[in-house]
């Protein structure tokens, strides 16, 4: 846990340094991001990364591959809901150990842009939880693909490489050219990370941001539910 926190903070320092250097070169502001907003963006992003678990463990896919998933399937539960509950529980722990520390670090030691309106705090929390649900739903879909692909590590690798860039972790989505921004906001990616940060910084209409998130959370969970149902009907459970 401590090692994870240290690595997280070190990467935060690197990202803040690079982005602030870029800002200085661009006369102190890019697309609504000044020095304080940028530092805030970096430290919230560092915290959200562990909280939403953008890069998961592929555990379910491994269980599909080995056939151990039969044990998950014969329990009297809805597998997707059960795993979501488990992930929310993990989120509760990660809130204390992964989200709060880097944010506190940023607040104490860097120029930090606090919300102008107190209501942004609870909205940020709601948005972060929806982001976690979306992250879960995406990981679940990738996991379920193992029923067809058997070995889905390629897909997982692809997700790990692209999701960080597209969700606004590497640079804020606002830094993308206009056409790319429009395309990105039609996908669930910004809802994973950029949305809660926007809500916190007061960028854009928070209700619209939240609605976009809710839409994707519902759509992706529904897709996962259908995919699992189909997988169970059509697909072989591995092993004797």
């Amino acid at each position: 846990m401590l090692a994870g926190m240290t690595a997280n903070v070190v990467f935060g320092l690197l990202r803040a340094a690079v982005l602030v250097a870029a800002l200085r070169a661009a006369n102190g502001e890019i697309a609504d991001y000044g020095i304080a907003a940028t530092n805030t963006y970096v430290w919230i992003g560092q915290g959200l990364l562990g909280f939403i678990l953008l890069w998961g463990t592929n555990e379910l896919a491994e269980r599909v591959r080995s056939g151990d998933v039969v044990v998950d399937l014969y329990r009297p539960w809805h597998l997707q809901s059960a795993l979501l509950a488990q992930d929310l529980g993990r989120g509760g722990y990660a809130f204390l150990t992964r989200l709060a520390p880097p944010m506190a670090f940023g607040m104490l030691l860097f120029p930090f842009q606090f919300p102008a309106d107190a209501v942004q705090w609870p909205l940020f929390l709601v948005s972060a939880v929806i982001a976690l649900v979306i992250s879960f739903a995406c990981r679940f879909l990738i996991d379920v693909s193992a029923f067809w692909l058997v070995d889905n590590r390629g897909l997982y690798g692809f997700w790990n490489v692209t999701s960080g860039l597209l969700c606004g972790l590497t640079v804020p989505v606002a830094f993308f050219p206009g056409w790319a921004r429009e395309v990105l906001w039609m996908t669930p990616f910004p809802a994973l990370m950029q949305s809660p940060i926007d809500v916190f910084l007061g960028h854009g209409d928070p209700l619209r941001t939240l609605l976009h998130q809710v839409f994707w959370a519902v759509a992706l969970l529904a897709a996962g539910h259908l995919a699992l149902q189909r997988a169970v009907r059509k697909v072989v459970v591995q092993g004797g």
């Binding site: 039969v70 044990v71 014969y74 009297p76 059960a82 004797g240």
Partner: protein, 323 residues
């Protein structure tokens, strides 16, 4: 409890040849029909790939049959999988339903919540299993540190916490030492007779069957080869029994009517007399033998259950060839 009619399940198996990918259909279960009454204990045996696990996956609702009819406790398993799951327990000898990193006790607590067992029932059932299976000393040990024998006892407890009407065991004694096996069998026999829990178990260890299951079903290539009490199958398939006598002094084998073959060893100290089950009883034979020679010791040997099953397979092969 279980009602299965003309059950079939086919799989598509990919056969790659260069870049072309073809599919061939493999029938894992091919028209299986049987019933299991509540309270029965049935052994389901067959070689690897015979279709045992596939049948079990269909009975538990994890796999959807290609065709045929299944009812388990009046429920269609694949349609009402969650309702059924509350009423049956499943133990896969080669898989674990416990949480690898949690103490055994925590796994049980989680299962209590998943199956929504009342605190009182849970306490009572868990205490009983802890007592009978001797779990107390490792109840707080993480599952990953348990020995296989300890873990299997944990697995069986986990499957019984919701007091299932049917307990399905897929190779429950695989890899266990003799003592652990015996302990498990004793416990399973006890819950079968005392609680009336229906047992269906697949196994390669025929002692499990001998010890636990009055009824045996033999399956191969997806078809039921034989179904009935072990004793009947034994009588039908292997009509011969053997009387082994040890003489006080080396000598020729006694000449007794009803004996079809004699094999001697240890310079005439020991003789194996083969006789027909249907024609002669062991008692008749023994009376005759002790009249003729001075016997030091004797024993009646039943054919091993392995022999029974091997002969059943052989018979099926012969039939297939003739057809």
């Amino acid at each position: 409890m279980i009602e299965v009619r003309e059950l079939r399940r086919e799989f598509k198996v990919a056969t790659s040849k260069g870049l072309r990918r073809n599919y061939k259909t493999v029938t894992a279960v091919d028209g299986v029909t049987f019933d299991v009454a509540a309270g029965e204990a049935v052994g389901y045996v067959g070689p690897n790939g015979a279709g045992k696990s596939t049948t079990i996956k269909m009975l538990t609702g994890i796999l959807v049959p290609t065709s045929g009819h299944i009812r388990v406790g009046d429920v269609d398993p694949s349609k009402q999988r969650r309702d059924l799951a509350k009423r049956i327990g499943v133990v896969f000898g080669q898989r674990s339903q416990l949480w690898w990193d949690l103490p055994l006790q925590d796994s049980f607590d989680l299962l209590r919540s998943i199956y929504r067992v009342s605190a009182e029932d849970y306490r009572r059932r868990l205490d009983e299993c802890v007592e009978l299976l001797g779990l107390r000393e490792f109840l707080t040990t993480p599952v990953r540190q348990l020995s296989l024998g300890q873990r299997m006892r944990g697995e069986i407890t986990a499957a019984l916490l919701h007091a299932p009407e049917l307990l399905v065991l897929d190779e429950p004694t695989i890899g266990l030492d003799l003592e652990s096996k015996e302990r498990l069998r004793e416990f399973l026999a006890d819950i079968n007779t005392r609680r009336g829990t229906t047992l269906l178990l697949t196994t390669h260890d025929l002692d499990d069957i001998e010890r636990l299951c009055p009824r045996l079903m033999v399956i191969d290539h997806g078809r039921v080869l034989a179904d009935g009490p072990l004793e009947e199958l034994r009588a039908e398939v292997t009509p011969d029994r053997e009387l082994v006598i040890d003489l006080r002094e080396p000598g020729p084998a006694p000449d007794v009517p009803g004996v079809t073959a004699v094999r001697s060893e240890a310079n005439g100290l020991r003789h194996h007399l083969t006789f027909r089950r249907a024609e002669t009883t062991a008692a008749q034979l023994i009376t005759q033998v002790v009249r003729q020679v001075e016997v030091h010791d004797l024993a009646v040997v039943e054919p091993e259950i392995d022999d029974v099953i091997r002969k059943l397979y052989q018979r099926q092969l012969d039939q297939d060839v003739r057809r």
